[in-house]
C-alpha cells in the first residue's frame, strides 16, 4: 500500500515545492514582480557613476549627504508612459519639497545617443524639471548596460522607432543601495515610504 501511494505523493510534494520556489512563495509570477521582491529582500549596491544632465553638468547617481535618490528610466521622445510618469514624478517632487524631505529625483535616459542635453532640457521644460531637485540626465554609453542590468530594466525597440520598457520609480536609499521599486503612479506609496525613512 505504502509503496503504491508514496511515489505519487512525493512527486506531488516535490512539484509543489518547485513551483513554490519558482514563484517566490506564490508572490511573483512575472519577472517584474520578481525584480521588485528581490530588491526589497536584498538591496543592490549602486556603483559610483556620473551622469550628464540637461545643462551638461556632471551629476552623481549616488545619494549625497543623507539624501534619497529616486530614479526613473526614460527616453525623451517617449510618446505615452514616460510623459504620464513625468507628471507623477513632478507631483512627488512638489510634495517632497513641501514636506522638507531631502531627496533628489533623476530621470535617466536609456537612449544617450539621441538624448542630448538640448533634447533633455526640452523634456525637462515640458515637465518643470528645473535641475534643482529634479533633473534629466544621461549616462555614458559604456555605463548604460551595467545600469540597466543592476536596476533590472529591460528596454526593447517597438514598432515605431521608440522603445518599450518596464517603467518604475527606483529608490536608492541614503546608504547608496537600490532598495525599492514603485509603480510610476504610486505617489502615495513613495511618500509614505520616504516619510518612514526620514522622520
Amino acid at each position: 500500500m505504502l509503496a503504491r501511494v508514496l511515489p505519487p505523493v512525493l512527486a506531488a510534494i516535490a512539484g509543489g515545492g518547485i513551483l513554490w520556489q519558482a514563484t517566490d512563495g506564490a508572490q511573483a509570477f512575472t519577472s517584474e514582480a520578481a525584480r521588485r521582491l528581490d530588491v526589497v529582500q536584498s538591496p543592490r549596491k549602486v556603483p559610483e557613476v556620473l551622469l550628464e544632465d540637461m545643462t551638461s553638468r556632471q551629476v552623481p547617481l549616488l545619494p549625497q549627504a543623507g539624501e534619497v535618490v529616486l530614479v526613473e528610466f526614460i527616453y525623451t521622445v517617449c510618446g505615452d508612459i514616460c510623459q504620464i510618469a513625468a507628471a507623477d514624478f513632478a507631483e512627488i517632487r512638489d510634495r517632497l519639497q513641501a514636506h522638507g524631505v531631502t531627496a533628489r529625483l533623476l530621470s535617466v535616459s536609456f537612449d544617450p545617443e539621441r538624448d542630448t542635453p538640448e533634447q533633455m532640457s526640452i523634456y525637462g521644460d515640458a515637465h518643470q524639471a528645473d535641475s534643482r531637485m529634479w533633473t534629466v540626465a544621461r549616462p555614458d554609453q559604456r555605463d548604460l548596460p551595467g545600469l540597466l542590468d543592476l536596476f533590472g530594466v529591460t528596454v526593447i525597440p517597438d514598432e515605431w522607432g521608440g522603445f518599450q520598457h518596464n517603467a518604475a520609480i527606483h529608490m536608492i536609499s541614503s546608504d547608496g543601495r537600490f532598495s525599492a521599486v514603485f509603480d510610476t503612479d504610486a505617489v502615495e506609496a513613495v511618500l509614505a515610504h520616504l516619510r518612514g525613512v526620514q522622520p
Partner: protein
C-alpha cells in the same frame, strides 16, 4: 530509430527558432516550446513504463508544464541559463514522462486534463489580451495581445479536434465501436 530521428529533427527545428522566439512570444510559447515537448514525446514513443510509475511521471510532466507557463520563466527562457533549462526540461521532463504515463491514464483523467487545458488556454487568452501592463518584460504589448488571441484560437481548434471522436466516432474504429467510450479520444 525513426522516432529518435524525428525527435532530433524537432529539437533542431526548435533550436533554429531561438532567434525568432526572442522577437515573437507566439513563436516562443506556441511553436518552439511545443516542438520541444513533441521531441520528448517522439523520443519516448517506443518506451514503456510500469503502471505504478504513471502517477509520478504525470505529476513531473504537470510540474514542468506549470513552471514554463509562468510569465517570469518565459522571460528567463530568453537568457542563456534559462535557454538551456528549456531545451533540457521540456523534452526530457515533460515530453517523455507525458508519453510514458499517457497509456495508463483512464478516460476520465484524460478528459479532465484536456478540459483543464482548454479552460487554461481560455483564461490565458483573456489575461494576455486584457492585461493593462506588460506581463513579459521581453515582449511588446502588441505581441502580448497577439499571443492572447493565439491562445484563444488554439483553444477553439483543440476543442474542435477533441470533439470529433465524441461526435463522429473514432476515425480508425468507425462510428461508436463496441469498445465504448473508454476508447474515445486516444
Amino acid at each position: 530509430m525513426k522516432m529518435i530521428a524525428l525527435a532530433l529533427l524537432a529539437t533542431a527545428e526548435a533550436v533554429a527558432l531561438q532567434g525568432a522566439a526572442a522577437g515573437s512570444p507566439i513563436q516562443h510559447v506556441l511553436v518552439q516550446m511545443p516542438l520541444l515537448v513533441l521531441a520528448g514525446v517522439l523520443l519516448g514513443w517506443d518506451l514503456h513504463s510500469r503502471r505504478d510509475w504513471a502517477g509520478p511521471l504525470l505529476l513531473t510532466a504537470l510540474t514542468v508544464f506549470l513552471f514554463w507557463m509562468l510569465p517570469r520563466n518565459v522571460d528567463w527562457a530568453l537568457t542563456p541559463a534559462g535557454e538551456l533549462a528549456k531545451y533540457l526540461s521540456l523534452p526530457l521532463l515533460l515530453g517523455v514522462p507525458l508519453r510514458l504515463s499517457w497509456p495508463w491514464l483512464g478516460p476520465v483523467l484524460r478528459g479532465f486534463l484536456k478540459a483543464n487545458g482548454l479552460s487554461m488556454l481560455g483564461v490565458l487568452g483573456f489575461l494576455y489580451t486584457h492585461a493593462p501592463v506588460r506581463i513579459c518584460n521581453f515582449y511588446l504589448v502588441s505581441a502580448q495581445q497577439e499571443l492572447g488571441f493565439a491562445f484563444l484560437y488554439l483553444a477553439a481548434a483543440l476543442a474542435c479536434l477533441w470533439a470529433i471522436p465524441v461526435l463522429f466516432g473514432h476515425p480508425r474504429r468507425g462510428p461508436f465501436g463496441t469498445a465504448g467510450c473508454n476508447r474515445c479520444g486516444v
